[in-house]
Symmetry: C2
Subunit: 211 residues, 2 copies
């Protein structure tokens, strides 16, 4: 049986990141300085080193996301799980707010009327916030497809997209659509991702701003 | 570029599970009937087929968990993300409730006083609920260690443990401790897991009860 190690509660995260750093080195993976804390936090939340290969960043993505938060950007997610995971206290300290419209009654109603998903409707509702917007999509590829359509038709130009839905139906092409745009983004290529990954990326950016 | 496939919103999940079933077959992985929907839903939430090898079930675990929910068991989680992800509507239909004590003020206070984690304190607070309890642990190995200590000292015998914390410090041995007990459990061996996985397991059990 493996042995329990005595680690003080406040030291657990630090120790985890030391292990992640060492194992990345063992695998000869060298991360770009700007992206390092985002990728490490995603590995921390998933125990999956594959993310070191698949996480894709547009130019200066992390610096741009940090600047947006600093200027009071709001975050819009497609799941209440991601919303629960985001450190709203730090975000609110910069004047931002986190939103998820998925569980609202009007969202379900509009989705039914338009034969679309609640996630796609949520993107349209987000346009009404009237603030700089970071979209953090951890579940629904249809949210990314709708964002792409809105970008193409210039209905809404998101300031930033974190595109990490997980799954088997349309997840891969939806991510490719976002990567083909000019919108600053962090996308995880392939099937993997999730609400936990979306929240981890948001938090990595938020923690960088207060450390 | 990959092609988007047209799938009706209500068909997306069904189509995802068909792909998962086909790929499990391609990998020559045959799941036990009782465990099938739990493992498939975890793969659905993670896009990670490794779970088919590492998910560990005590004897008749899924049937036991279903019986507990049917009899009004409550679910206690160690993160608000897992709490957000659990289908509380179905759970409440059977008379149960879902709880997470992590963000409560008394939890932080007690953790500080006792130099332990909020997750460990949360396990102690759960003992006061006075209902059959399913613990769904997706984040904190210290929660599993505390549960193990409580089982050993007969302070609290959980009715069921879903033990799927993710991470690098004490996650592996904490899971082994739970697997060494007589308490019915579903545990993911190794480092992987997470709040999303904990919620997916709870939901697989809940959905089985209403389909």
């Amino acid at each position: 049986m493996s042995e329990l190690e005595f680690v003080l509660p406040e030291e657990i995260e630090k120790r985890s990141f030391e292990i992640i750093s060492r194992e990345l080195k063992d695998r000869n993976i060298l991360l770009k300085k700007e992206q390092e804390m985002v990728i490490k936090r995603v590995i921390h939340t998933s125990a999956d080193f594959e993310y070191a290969d698949t996480m894709t960043f547009s130019a200066n993505a992390v610096d741009k996301a940090k600047a947006l938060v600093r200027n009071g950007a709001h975050i819009v997610t497609d799941t209440n799980m991601a919303l629960a995971g985001i450190n709203k206290k730090i975000l609110e300290g910069f004047g931002g707010e986190a939103h998820c419209f998925m569980a609202e009654e009007r969202t379900a109603k509009l989705a039914k009327e338009n034969n679309t998903t609640r996630a796609a409707v949520s993107m349209e509702l987000a346009a009404e916030i009237g603030k700089p917007l970071i979209f953090a999509i951890g579940n629904a590829p249809t949210a990314l497809v709708r964002l792409y359509e809105m970008i193409e038709t210039k209905t809404l130009i998101p300031d930033f997209i974190i595109g990490v839905p997980v799954g088997f139906v349309n997840v891969v092409p939806a991510k490719e659509l976002i990567m083909s745009t000019e919108v600053p983004h962090i996308v995880n290529r392939g099937r993997k991702g999730g609400s936990n990954v979306a929240a981890a990326i948001c938090n990595a950016i938020l923690y960088e701003l207060v450390r």
